[in-house]
């Protein structure tokens, strides 16, 4: 049977912020570029990002600069971040935001006409460029329209909109193809017809986002099935930091059908406070030792901060996300939760109704339409939701290159940038900075390549057979298997973990692997969601095993990994990365790897007193040697 085949220089998988920015870069460098996305063009999960893009432009507070942003990012990630990525990110984010403006983006403004910047958890200064609370939509639309602008240029020149950049919408990649150890292309299917497509390309950029669909309560959409993570593993690349998952502290808890959907952190940045059922602002009880001197200890001081940041410390509602999520979890467990099992997030008693509608229009809309709650009149009920995975493909910071030649990754699917916990606002800027770098990295790789790798027939036959298999079985309903995986991960490898439970989860995952091999999909190949889910299950299982195995090994609590049986942070563990790989395509191996020490000029940006909280004695004496 003939399979549809196309030739490109660079194939980008994923059309969220990172994918589009990578594709734009590759095309601007003259590469024939394909963008493959599971959904329609412009629907990627990036549209859900509300708060903004963190970039130290200094428009609101001139004291801000890349070094402050770098410090905040490392602090947020509990010093486990790939420091080179954190450095590049802090340095380049302003240029990436300004560039969007030249492509037509319309951010909210300061009085002197610059891009306005808002406060956010973990950021020392107001830093997030934003458009109300729909910044992600603005970002996606701007990048989408930039792709169209490039297509219009190509049409002028070549008479074909798709001469240099084409979007394969509603197309899912199921396998990366290799010639020896190099990437040679990708294999996938069209959602609409179920027919197969082969993209012949020496470079592939993964930009597939996260893994949230392995959990029941998540802010992530159906697309977030860990495709890129799994494709990378299967192609022989490594994943790092998979134990670190961010549970966003404020997801909706009611009604049940929207449980997990995000309530933006800007609600807190703009004055919203968290209260328990007794009406107490409980966050004051949860300021961890490492942050004691940076956060207000009284409500009065916290409230003054909103108008006078120079002379007051910020309220503890703006602690990094992991801290707030754990605090909410603890309040609910202690029986001080709201009627539907969350806590109260109140902005109604803090700002005038008109101001709330102006600053948080989409939150107002979301609660009104989905929960029939008017946030200008009553508090919201919120609780933690699986939101973001810090872990992902191990990449070279400067080029986004993975261990497999020709494979690149950017955005949520890559690992390292955010360490053990991501700051809000650092995701949109991450997408732009490293999307561009991965696109450039892929273009440079293609330029340096002596000959195009070739796709072997045998590999194609295998990919085809694997994809068709669920349709040829009359096995178990894939939805059942998916639900069991989600329940298992939520209950046993969730926000608080312990060894017995994680081990139990691994046993369940082993059994689910067997069941996945037997699931069947009824119906034809045309737009068949049961079939698609059956194929996605392979990816979700692989990724879930990585999360659970790494979570079991890391015997400490740090950022997005909290062990009930190892409650403290351990400086010895800070230097260790857990690296996941698979040899047989089914079972996961995890190995420890030492993280390189921070460059001298970067580590000396921190105070000794702060580093002392994170580093080993040995590292501290090295530091003292440098800083003399």
């Amino acid at each position: 049977m003939e399979i549809e085949r196309h030739e490109y220089d660079v194939v980008v998988i994923g059309a969220g912020g990172a994918g589009l920015r990578a594709a734009i870069e590759a095309r601007q460098q003259g590469k024939r570029t394909a963008i493959v996305c599971k959904s329609l063009f412009g629907k990627a999960h990036t549209v859900m990002a509300e708060g903004g893009a963190a970039a130290a432009m200094g428009n609101v507070n001139p004291d801000d600069n890349w070094m402050v942003h770098f410090r905040d990012t490392m602090r947020g990630g509990k010093f486990l971040n790939n420091w080179r990525m954190a450095e590049l990110h802090a340095k380049e984010a302003p240029d990436r935001v300004w560039e969007l403006e030249a492509w037509g983006a319309l951010f909210d403004r300061t009085k002197d006409g610059k891009i306005s910047q808002r406060n956010f958890g973990g950021h020392e200064y107001p830093r997030l460029a934003h458009v109300g609370d729909r910044t992600g939509l603005e970002l996606i639309r701007t990048l989408q329209q930039r792709v169209v602008a490039l297509q219009q240029e190509d049409y002028e020149q070549h008479g074909d909109y798709e001469a240099y950049i084409k979007v394969f919408a509603e197309c899912t990649i199921t396998r990366l193809l290799k010639d020896g150890d190099r990437i040679s292309g990708a294999f996938g299917y069209w959602r609409e017809s179920g027919s197969f497509v082969v993209l012949d390309a020496p470079a592939v950029v993964l930009a597939t986002g996260g893994i949230g669909k392995s959990y029941v309560v998540t802010s992530n959409s159906w697309e977030y099935t860990g495709d890129g993570h799994a494709l990378a593993l299967l192609a022989g690349a490594n994943l790092i930091n998979m134990e670190f998952i961010q549970f966003h502290p404020t997801g909706m808890v009611w009604p049940p059908s929207v449980r997990g959907i995000l309530v933006t952190e800007s609600v807190r940045g703009d004055g919203g406070v968290l209260r328990n059922s007794a009406g107490e602002r409980f966050m004051f009880n949860y300021i961890p030792e490492v942050f004691k001197d940076k956060y207000a200890t009284t409500e009065e001081e916290g409230d003054r901060w909103y108008t006078d940041q120079a002379n007051n410390r910020r309220p503890p509602e703006l602690l990094p996300r992991d801290e707030v999520a754990r605090a909410i979890n603890a309040e609910v467990k202690a029986g001080r939760g709201s009627p539907q099992g969350g806590v109260f997030l109140d902005v109604s008693s803090r700002l005038p109704a008109e101001e709330i509608k102006r600053r948080l229009p989409s939150m107002h809309h979301q609660f009104k339409e989905l929960a029939d709650v008017d946030i200008t009149a009553e508090p919201m009920q919120v609780g933690p939701t699986c939101h973001y995975i810090m872990g992902g493909v191990e990449v070279d910071a400067d080029t986004g290159a993975a261990a497999v030649p020709g494979l690149f990754a950017a955005g949520e699917v890559s690992g390292g940038m955010h360490g053990s916990n991501r700051l809000g606002g650092n995701s949109l800027s991450d997408l732009l900075v490293f999307g561009r770098r991965a696109g450039a990295g892929a273009a440079a790789y293609v330029d340096a390549l002596p000959a195009r790798p070739r796709i072997g027939q045998e590999e194609l036959d295998e990919a085809r057979e694997e994809a068709l298999a669920p349709l040829q079985r009359t096995g178990e309903n894939p939805y059942e298997v998916h639900h069991e995986l989600q329940r298992t991960m939520n209950e046993l490898v969730g926000i608080i973990r312990k060894a017995e439970e994680v081990s139990e989860a691994l046993e369940v995952v082993e059994k689910l692997k067997e069941r996945v091999r037997l699931v069947g999909a009824a119906g034809t190949r045309i737009y068949n969601p049961g079939w698609h889910l059956a194929l996605d299950l392979r990816n979700m299982i692989l990724v879930s095993e990585c999360v659970a195995r790494a979570a079991l090994l890391r015997q400490e609590s740090r950022g997005g990994h909290t062990r009930d049986d190892f409650p403290g942070m351990n400086p010895e563990w800070r230097r260790k990365l857990l690296v996941c790989s698979t040899a047989d395509g089914s079972s996961i191996t995890v190995e420890e790897q030492l993280q390189p020490a921070m460059r001298d000029d970067l580590i000396t940006l921190f105070d000794r007193d702060e580093l002392k909280k994170y580093l080993t004695d040995e590292e501290m004496s090295e530091f003292d040697g440098i800083s003399k």
């Binding site: 959904s39 329609l40 412009g42 629907k43 999960h45 549209v47 859900m48 302003p94 240029d95 300004w98 560039e99 403006e101 030249a102 492509w103 037509g104 319309l106 951010f107 909210d108 403004r109 002197d112 006409g113 458009v131 729909r134 939509l137 603005e138 329209q145 930039r146 169209v148 602008a149 297509q151 219009q152 049409y155 909109y161 609409e192 959409s221 159906w222 009611w254 009604p255 049940p256 059908s257 959907i261 995000l262 989409s362 809309h365 979301q366 339409e369 989905l370 029939d372 309903n477 894939p478 939805y479 999909a521 009824a522 119906g523 034809t524 045309i526 737009y527 068949n528 969601p529 049961g530």
Partner: protein, 250 residues
């Protein structure tokens, strides 16, 4: 609080299909999309529907519910009586691929035909200065989540396939207005809105505004002002005279 609801869902592919009856469980707080998902999980695993965010932010789950264009994720079941039969059909203006999924490529073609944002020469990134009040007009239109329900409901193309080539639809006429009102856009948008994108077909019945899930005032704030700008220019006696005297025939 749960009950059994009666649903009629359009099912079919390749130009053929019919309404199929389902009886399905409904729980408190659910929306129509939840019920479609329950059908997939329990009775019809290959039922095709587009969706992504389930929070009214991505504009994927556009469908017609009891004949009205709606987002499935933003239509609460509590707005229907328990004994009411709910009919769910695909958007009518676009060809059906399967079940509730339509071919919306018309919209992507139209998007390409509108010249992109055109900033003046010499303004470098980082140098843009705009006042909030000046960006707000276009920001309203940039709230659009591209659910395409305005184009779906617009009578110019809903039952008139023949108008499709000449008419960009409310979504993309609004895009032209957005660019025309962008403080830094220097392209001439007004003549082409009328001549190339079919602004004149719109007779401001406001159906688009009524179905917009983002509550954008498409007609009042985008289409009517655009029409006024076009008219101002077309019938301005000085512009008319200038065109007569200075413009050379092409």
């Amino acid at each position: 609080m749960s009950y059994k609801a009666k649903f009629k869902v359009w099912r079919g592919e390749g130009g053929e299909g019919k309404l199929e009856d389902f009886t399905v469980e409904v729980n408190e707080g659910e929306v129509v999309l939840d019920i479609i998902h329950r059908l997939q999980a329990t009775q019809a695993p290959d039922l095709a529907v587009r969706w992504n965010c389930k929070a009214g932010k991505c504009g994927s789950c556009s469908m017609e519910i009891n004949g009205k264009p709606r987002l499935g994720c933003m239509t609460r079941m509590s707005t229907f009586a328990e004994d009411e039969t709910i009919t769910v059909t695909p958007m009518r203006t676009f060809p059906v691929i399967k079940d509730l999924v339509t071919d919306v490529s018309f919209n992507y073609q139209k998007a390409r035909e509108i010249p992109s944002f055109t900033p003046p020469q010499g303004v470098r990134p980082g140098e843009y200065r705009m006042q909030q009040v000046d960006v707000e007009r276009s920001q309203e239109f940039r709230k659009c989540i591209e659910c395409f329900m305005c184009n779906n409901i617009c009578h110019v193309i809903r039952d008139h396939e023949e108008n499709k080539p000449a008419f960009a639809g409310p979504r993309f006429l609004m895009r032209i207005a957005e660019l025309d009102m962008h403080p830094y856009d220097v392209a001439d948008r007004q003549e082409s809105a009328q001549e190339e994108h079919g602004l004149g077909y719109c007779n401001i019945t406001k159906c688009c505004t009524e179905v917009c899930p983002e509550h954008i005032k498409i007609t009042d704030n985008a289409l009517i002002p655009m029409k006024e700008r076009v008219v101002d220019r077309k019938y301005d006696p000085l512009v008319w005279l200038g065109n007569k005297i200075f413009r050379r025939p092409k």
